[in-house]
């Protein structure tokens, strides 16, 4: 039951090797075997993986199927995007030192109040945690206290992200409307286009993923983690033992939302844009399939699932764009009907059946 069990150990080792090899191959090796765009692409996958871990914490362990985790991710992304917009300063098209381009374009006279403070990096970082955290807290406070569970909870989380999407599409909201936030130049003085900054962000994403995994693992192996599983399996029974279920749910829900926010904050500078599409219900459901594919309730599996699906999406949409949705749709059906334990479950099951399991099965870093 230690913090780092076998699968966690293997995954973290693989992640560490990747974290050293990718920047090395991009920055220092002869002939640049790892092109720059791959660095950002892999960095993006790692952000997705962190997001999947966040969802696994609430779905896999507590039984709350959130169809709105994309909202927390996007809010984190927007918080970081707002800082990056302020960093542009007067280098925008309209060269307005105070207002981002889209505000000049929409005839804003002054900066809206909720943009105050985002010129400070530390403030933005704080908001990356606080904004998703606060939304999760308020939402969870109401939902868990009134004991909305199961499908109903899923549906209102979906409504939440849908409402946010509609809101962020509005120009009047002050977040750039349907174009979102983009044209970032640099962060803390490092040019976002430069290879070294990209490599740095990649390493940061890897560290965040490892940190997120360890935190989630620490939570789930604690007694609190056991209580979460109790809630998942028999919520009523847990109550009759004296546990205030809503408090426990609220705790993981907020932690998970903040984790998703961090993932979003790292995603924005690597992708170079954040727009309201990130709030779309379809995006949030896709996160669920990452977790289901990797293996619900395994943390590491969720991360692997995210990376597999994201990589498949990149490859398939590149090769045959027509096929991608068919493949994704089939994946949803196949995994839920035939692979309830996910890839990790299948692999570990196969290993367990073998008379002598190989000690260093490298299966985890697919």
């Amino acid at each position: 039951m230690g913090l780092i069990d076998r699968r966690m150990g293997i995954f973290l080792t693989g992640l560490f090797i990747l974290t050293v090899a990718v920047p090395a191959g991009n920055l220092w090796m002869e002939g640049q075997p790892v092109p720059s765009y791959i660095v950002s692409l892999l960095g993006k996958y790692l952000c997705y993986a962190l997001l999947a871990v966040a969802l696994d914490l609430v779905w896999g362990f507590t039984g709350i199927l959130s169809l709105g985790h994309g909202a927390f991710f996007a809010l984190g992304g927007y918080a970081m995007g707002m800082h990056l917009m302020r960093e542009i300063g007067d280098r925008g098209v309209y060269a307005n030192p105070e207002l981002p381009d889209f505000m000049v374009f929409l005839n804003y006279q002054e900066l809206p109040w909720f943009w105050y403070g985002f010129d400070q990096f530390w403030f933005a970082c704080l908001m990356v945690l606080l904004v998703p955290g606060a939304l999760a807290f308020v939402f969870g406070w109401f939902a868990f206290r009134s004991r909305v569970t199961g499908v109903y909870l899923s549906i209102i989380t979906q409504a939440m992200t849908y409402a946010l999407m509609l809101a962020f599409f509005r120009n009047e909201m002050g977040f750039g409307g349907n174009n979102g936030l983009t044209d970032f130049k640099d962060v803390l003085g490092f040019d976002l286009q430069s290879d070294s900054t990209r490599a740095g962000l990649f390493v940061l994403s890897a560290i965040a993923l490892a940190g997120g995994l360890l935190l989630a693992r620490a939570i789930t192996t604690s007694k609190l983690g056991q209580v979460l599983v109790c809630i998942r399996d028999a919520e009523d029974r847990t109550r009759f033992l004296g546990y205030r279920v809503e408090g426990y749910k609220l705790f993981v829900w907020v932690v998970s939302a903040m984790m998703a926010g961090v993932a979003g904050a790292l995603y924005t500078p690597q992708v170079g844009i954040i727009n309201p599409g990130e709030f779309s219900p379809a995006n949030s459901i896709e996160i669920v399939i990452w977790v289901a594919l990797g293996g619900r309730g395994t943390l590491v599996g969720a991360a692997i699932g995210a990376i597999i699906v994201a990589a498949a999406k990149t490859l398939l949409t590149g090769w045959f764009p027509e096929i991608w949705l068919f493949a994704l749709g089939a994946l949803f059906i196949f995994v839920t009907i035939f692979m309830p334990k996910g890839v990790l479950g299948v692999i570990e099951g196969a290993l367990a059946k073998r008379p002598k399991p190989q000690p260093d099965g490298k299966e985890a870093e697919v």
Binding site: S154, A167, T336
Partner: protein, 533 residues
């Protein structure tokens, strides 16, 4: 200025009577002569003459296309065809042929003259044989009241037999009276007439009178404006209710199939929206075939599409149930994911077959157009959709409550094992129930194709809404779905004037989220122990 104009008008009236012997042709020939003032006199005489042939000539003059040829002084209408100027005889419409650029001079008009021309055209059409033309003329006279026309209007009014035109003439007379210098009693009576009229147009005539120096008039106008505004608020409300009902019927259609699959069976069918989309594309395909092969049947296209859509969507529904959902009973969250996968596949299939763009689905003639009730406008397509949604609802209610099939459906969904023991073929009933929900989604698609863009994304835009409706109404309760659809529709439309469409939608969503916290089982919850665990 007005005095000057009135003097002029009086003068021209005299002239007109003097020249009454002049024929239509002679008057037209006089048009190019003199200054704007003389031209206005000729126009007035043309109006008074009452010869309907004057209308097209005056219209051309109004457009500024009436020219006089330098060669033979003929009055012609000049139109540009390609890069050439082509002349037509203003009286007969006969083509003279291409004329050189400087071969003619234009008969000029200014703003004052344009007004007079319109008035003259109005006068001419006030006696036109077609009531629609007369109505338009009366409206025109209302919009540009001219005291000189008062007598004309009154005489036309006394001859008018069509009640609608007569009413319009009354309003025109009232507006004209208000422009004239008739005594107070007449003016106040006119204000009262406009108060009866009671719409925005009446208001625009009356509002300036609030500033009138004459206290009697100002007071009367104030009363009338207040009365009209109160009346309008009422009509506005009625119109909003209508819009709300209309939106509600759309929501009902979108949600009603889901009320079966989700509400009754407890299956979270995320592909529901795509089944609606299939219905819409069925309509499109039917219309394509009709357009290509049987154009005469176009008005029947929806009636042909409806059963087809029911069968196609229902068939796909049965396939979904047998091929996927049945392995997942009792695992609602997994069902949700698997059906989402199906929705992606259906979307992409349709995109591959029909392309990613919006498809044009036409309205049959009985679905287009609109009519007025008082001051609200009701479009036929919205009305039919409302009726259709209620009909579908009624049929569904009948099937579920009164037929043996419905009884079996409810038995199976409530206690599968028990129903199986009683000899009900549960698998078959499951498939049919799901198929019924899906088929109704297809029917919804036929109706929605009439008012929404038919694209592969059609379903996605309804899925959140329809779940909200079913959950808000209370899963398992058809009446709840009905009430939820209409109350959400109306709430939305009443919010819209204050907040705008998008914000209204957001507010309604937030309201539902909060509502579900308070009453997790919805408006009309199915009560009892069974649902609690």
């Amino acid at each position: 200025m007005t005095i000057f104009r009135q003097c002029l008008a009086a003068l021209f009236c005299c002239l007109a009577t003097l020249a009454s012997a002049q024929s239509f042709e002679e008057l037209v020939a006089q048009l190019p002569e003199g200054k704007f003032a003389e031209r206005a006199a000729v126009v007035a005489q043309l109006g008074a003459l009452g010869d309907p042939r004057a209308v097209p000539v005056l219209e051309v003059l109004l457009e500024g296309n009436l020219h006089v040829l330098k060669s033979n002084e003929a009055i012609v209408a000049v139109r540009e065809v390609g890069s050439d100027d082509v002349a037509y005889d203003a009286l007969t419409g006969e083509e003279f042929g291409i004329i050189p650029r400087r071969g003619s001079s234009k008969i000029r008009v200014n703003n004052g003259l344009r007004r007079d021309i319109r008035a003259a055209i109005g006068t001419l059409t006030l006696r036109a044989p077609d009531p629609a033309l007369r109505l338009a003329a009366a409206d025109a006279a209302f919009r540009a009241p001219n005291p000189d026309q008062l007598e004309l209007l009154q005489s036309v009014r006394s001859d008018e037999s069509d009640s609608e035109v007569a009413e319009a003439l009354d309003y025109a007379i009232a507006a004209t009276v208000l422009e004239s210098d008739l005594p107070d009693e007449a003016q106040v009576a006119a204000i009262d007439t406009l108060r009866e009229m009671g719409n925005q147009d009446a208001l625009s005539v009356l509002t300036p009178l609030l500033q009138a120096t004459n206290p009697v008039m100002a007071a009367a106008a104030k009363d009338a404006v207040a009365a009209i505004e109160a009346n309008q608020r009422l009509w506005n409300m009625a119109q909003n209710v209508w819009f709300g009902l209309s939106l509600g019927s759309v929501l009902l259609l979108a949600a009603i199939g889901l009320a079966i699959t989700f509400g009754v069976m407890g299956v979270i069918n995320m592909a529901h929206g795509e089944l609606v989309m299939l219905g819409a594309y069925t309509t499109f395909a039917v219309q394509e075939v009709i357009r290509a092969s049987f154009p005469g049947l176009f008005d029947w296209s929806l009636l042909i599409a409806a059963p087809l859509a029911f069968l196609i969507a229902g068939g796909v529904g049965v396939a979904i149930e047998r091929g996927c959902v049945r392995f997942l009973y009792g695992r609602p969250l997994e069902t949700l994911l698997a059906t989402w996968g199906i929705s992606l596949i259906l979307q992409q299939t349709v995109r591959s077959i029909f392309g990613p763009n919006n498809r044009e689905v036409g309205n049959p003639s009985w679905m287009s157009g609109a009519f007025d009730i008082g001051q609200m406008t009701i479009t036929y397509n919205r009305l039919w959709i409302l009726l259709f949604s209620l009909a579908v609802f009624a049929i569904l209610l009948f099937v579920m409550k009164k037929t043996s099939m419905g009884l079996r459906m409810r038995a199976v969904t409530q206690n599968r094992a028990m129903a199986a023991n009683m000899g009900i073929r549960t698998g078959w009933v499951d498939a049919l129930t799901f198929g019924l929900g899906a088929g109704i989604a297809g029917l919804a698609g036929v109706a929605l194709s009439q008012i929404d863009n038919v694209s592969p994304n059609l379903g996605q835009s309804y899925i959140v809404d329809s779940f909200m409706v079913v959950v808000f109404g209370g899963a398992g309760n058809l009446w709840g779905t009905l009430a939820a659809a209409f109350s959400l529709g109306i709430a939305n439309k009443f919010l819209e004037p204050w907040t705008g469409a998008v914000l209204a939608k957001i507010l309604v969503l937030v309201f539902i989220i909060l509502f579900i916290q308070k009453r997790p089982r919805g408006l009309f919850a199915v009560k009892g122990r069974a649902v609690e665990n």
